[in-house]
């Protein structure tokens, strides 16, 4: 008797990882005062030579006060032809309307005359979760994350690249100052925190989704470096439902931050020790309670150690965090001036927009620098 059962081959894990060197910059007004993107565009342009025009992007917090109670999804529809993009959007619209209440949507405004090449269709939706059936058990954020993972893995040519409340990412292929220009960040948006990224990918296959920041809900990451532990980080995150689809190692940092901070409620100081733990020789010399804590962290979260050179700026609604790898193979400078808090690959960029600074310092490897809003209430109200 003939059997009609065919056994499918296990698909090889043929993921691609792009690697890049970069410039990163962040500016935060700790009092929650909002300012436009002109300054950060100048600052990142000052590090022009650290990028090569194959990627730039921004994360901006506080830009959608009128829709602050809704998740702001930024969608990118890619494809060879306009038809591809439109059909991806059509599929996405169908999925969104059956899982969310969409209160408003529009194409993200942009300048047509600017210098970027081959832009995708970029659309934003302000949505409220509509949980039904088994999903009713989930909290809003878990629900939103699961739907984003579904979209990013199942709908071809559609990528959610921003999904927090009252914040948004803007990114694409080009120098960051050109991307800022394209999305009119200097005119249309005011934010209390801006993080920026200029990219120098070694892989020339440029696509808009591969630019930084990477984000999930309100957590955004801009990153300079290469995560050599990517494969290990990736499988661990996949166990917790994070699909790494954006072909860049930075993605894992955003998901790891989401897992540890939002879902497991670990404080950022602990998360920093997971990403960039002290070496065993140091741990062995610590007092008993510190030793126990760090040993346990390294034991439990070994797969989330971020190995290889990196400097990152993590943005969240109420804070901006800078962190380098534990042997500090990438530059990061921190500075403050009044309520302003800056992080940058190079000090010159900070000085360009704020010549006078109260304090400038170089954080140690693996040591997080954290800027927090003086009052979270101010931005939530």
């Amino acid at each position: 008797m003939e059997s009609d059962i065919t056994m499918p081959r296990i698909r090889r894990e043929l993921y691609n990882k792009e690697i890049c060197a970069c410039s990163i910059f962040g500016a935060m007004n700790r009092d929650g005062e909002r300012f436009n993107g002109e300054g950060v565009m100048l600052a990142i342009a000052n590090m022009h030579v650290r990028g090569n025009g194959l990627g730039g992007g921004f994360a901006a917090y506080g830009i959608y006060p009128h829709y602050k109670d809704y998740y702001a999804f930024h969608l990118m529809f890619t494809g060879r032809s306009h038809q591809d993009k439109v059909s991806a959007k059509k599929e996405l619209d169908g999925f969104l309307s059956s899982n969310f209440d969409v209160v408003f949507d529009e194409e993200v405004p942009h300048r047509d005359e600017s210098t970027v090449s081959d832009p995708p269709l970029v659309w934003r939706y302000f949505v409220h979760p509509r949980k039904e059936g088994d999903d009713a058990m989930l909290n809003d954020e878990d629900y939103v994350v699961s739907k984003i993972m579904w979209i990013n893995t199942r709908i071809e040519n559609a990528h959610v690249f921003s999904s927090g409340k009252n914040m948004g990412c803007f990114k694409g292929v080009g120098y960051p100052e050109d991307i800022g220009e394209y999305f009119m960040l200097d005119e249309l948006y005011k934010a209390y925190t801006w993080t920026v990224h200029g990219r120098f990918p070694t892989n020339t296959q440029a696509w808009w989704g591969g630019a930084h920041p990477f984000s999930l809900l309100d957590t955004t990451v801009v990153h300079n470096g290469e995560i050599s532990s990517y494969g290990t980080n990736r499988w661990y995150l996949e166990m917790y439902g994070y699909a790494c689809t954006l072909q860049t190692d930075t993605e894992v940092i955003a998901y790891a931050a989401d897992l540890l901070m939002r879902r497991q409620h670990l404080p950022i100081e602990v998360v920093a020790k997971i990403f960039a733990p002290p070496i065993w020789n140091s741990i062995d010399r610590m007092n008993e309670s510190e030793k126990k804590l760090l040993t346990t962290l390294r034991m439990v979260y070994a797969p989330l150690l971020m190995n290889g050179p990196f400097a990152i700026i993590i943005g969240q609604t109420n804070r901006m965090i800078g962190l380098t790898d534990r042997i500090r193979l990438r530059p990061l400078t921190a500075a403050t001036r009044g309520d302003m808090f800056y992080l940058s690959s190079e000090e010159a960029s900070i000085r360009l927009i704020s010549p006078k600074l109260d304090r400038v310092w170089t954080p140690n490897g693996g040591e997080p620098v954290i800027g927090e809003l003086n009052s979270i209430r101010k931005v939530l109200q």
Partner: protein
């Protein structure tokens, strides 16, 4: 009956060099060399030689050479010499052909078809002589998440962690029992493990009482189907307990320590009568299903007050990944998988050479299986069977193992030449024998030094390779197949290994 099998080895003695010291005669327990007083010369019987090279190395005049015999049967692709001779031996004896050591057949060795990555430009490689390079590894179950409380910036851990083994290098000594190997060899393994910050596995032959206080801290004790030498102190003096279900060299069958090897000390340690055969049944007769295993795991955890990780060792066979997943759910903290090329003291040759799957494929499919089920952190994987060098170790870890067991490699460090006569009790190197005249040849201090040197050498090499990949902690390579590429493999093999082809 006249045997129709001709000798495997040919002994060539340089009569010019030979000083008739009779050293070779004393060295060979198989009686290969005899002294003829009339002719004042040594005579060698090729038929008795097992090719262990003991006499060659210990001849003070360098007068002996042992090489495979040049005699051959008419060449025949189907009827190789080995097939022909095995058949003849069975025609002459009517028995099962026994052998020792691991599978020596030319199954594809995947280690030799996998290449490693290195950093260039975008990611600085790290010099392990100047920068910290961390190989420390924890073996055991890890929780899904850690619950902490923060009070005034002081972080306290609220999650109760499972017990874990800490190793300074991801290489442990595989299970080799006292009885199968000599006391000196056993003690050398224990000494080296303690010295090098790793563990030795007692195998199923118990742990001699006088060793418990000193070496319990670096021992994994085994509970196998024969239940030899098990008492409460045995379980509790060690750092982990391993339930042995299967062995890579002989999946599906039990063990047999012949009565000749059961000396007074072995008998006492195993708690069996002197000189009786020690037979380990093929299955555990209290484990006929997964729920029975779960009960034994619970019983051992209960017996050790939940202070020790429980490991379950199985042979890598066709459907083992699904079985291993069940074992994790049954409560095991560590899964030890033993592949096709794993060694043994004694096994039927037909089993050793034909049953099981290569460890490289097994590691990858087990790791993938546990990840897909979201339980990879619930257990550690120790891979065994065919680890020959530091690059095999690092490739095993990149394929998803947490650590490796080495058995044959450790014996080779002590002097073993893989002559495959472990079952004969005549090991000339003093490793696999209970004959005091032979086992006395193995000096514990020297043997343990050789083992420590091996671990140190491999650890240095692992650090070099890690640094080259721009990684400074071994945990960042675990399951990181991104750093591996295959050369000369078929698509399905790359699929199972989960790696890309070179250049892809």
């Amino acid at each position: 009956m006249k045997s129709f099998v001709f000798p495997e080895f040919q002994i060539i003695r340089d009569e010019e060099k030979c000083g008739q010291c009779r050293g070779c005669e004393r060295q060979c327990a198989f009686g290969t060399h005899t002294y003829d007083p009339v002719a004042d010369r040594l005579i060698s019987d090729n038929y008795k030689c097992v090719g262990c090279q003991r006499c060659v190395i210990f001849c003070p005049k360098d007068a002996i050479e042992v090489r495979p015999t040049p005699s051959f049967y008419r060449p025949n692709a189907s009827w190789s010499r080995e097939k022909l001779e095995d058949l003849k031996k069975q025609a002459e004896t009517g028995g099962v052909i026994l052998t020792g050591s691991g599978n020596d057949k030319p199954f594809r060795i995947y280690w030799d078809h996998i290449v490693l990555n290195a950093s260039q430009v975008t990611n600085p490689s790290i010099d392990p002589l100047r920068e910290p390079m961390e190989l420390r590894t924890f073996l055991g179950a890890k929780p899904d998440l850690m619950d902490v409380s923060v009070k005034d910036g002081d972080v306290q851990i609220k999650t109760q962690l499972s017990p874990n083994l800490m190793v300074q290098t991801p290489i442990l000594f595989s299970a080799m029992s006292y009885g199968a190997i000599s006391y000196n060899a056993f003690r050398a393994l224990a000494t080296a493990a303690c010295k090098s910050g790793t563990y030795f596995n007692t195998g199923e032959g118990g742990l001699p009482h006088e060793m418990r206080a000193e070496f319990g801290r670096c021992a994994i004790v085994q509970v196998a189907s024969g239940r030899f030498g098990i008492d409460a102190e045995y379980l509790n003096c060690a750092q982990a307990v391993e339930i042995k279900v299967g062995q890579g060299a002989k999946p599906g069958i039990g063990g047999h320590l012949p009565g000749e090897k059961v000396s007074a000390a072995v008998a006492k340690t195993r708690m069996i009568p002197l000189g009786t055969d020690a037979i380990s049944p093929a299955p555990h007769h209290d484990i006929y299903s997964i729920e029975d295993l779960a009960m034994l795991i619970s019983a051992l955890k209960e017996a050790t007050n939940y202070e020790k990780p429980i490991s379950v060792k199985i042979a890598a066979v066709h459907n083992f990944a699904a079985i291993a997943s069940g074992i994790v759910r049954a409560g095991a903290d560590i899964i030890a998988i033993d592949g096709l090329r794993g060694g043994t003291g004694t096994a039927p040759k037909v089993i050793r050479d034909n049953v099981g799957i290569p460890i490289e494929l097994a590691i990858s499919s087990l790791d993938r299986r546990l990840r897909n089920e979201g339980i990879r952190n619930k257990c550690s994987i120790i891979a065994a069977g065919g680890i020959r060098c530091s690059s095999d170790v690092i490739k095993a870890i990149a394929l998803g193992a947490d650590a490796v067991y080495i058995g044959s490699a450790a014996l080779i460090a002590m002097g073993c030449t893989l002559c495959q006569k472990c079952f004969s009790n005549k090991c000339n190197w003093g490793i696999c024998t209970q004959d005091p005249r032979l086992s006395g040849r193995l000096n514990v201090d020297i043997a343990s030094q050789r083992l420590s040197n091996l671990l140190s050498a491999w650890s240095h090499e692992i650090a070099e390779m890690l640094g080259g990949m721009g990684i400074n902690a071994l945990e960042s390579l675990r399951g990181n197949r991104d750093h591996l590429r295959g050369v000369g493999l078929y698509e399905w093999e790359l699929d199972v290994l989960g790696i890309k082809g070179a250049g892809e």
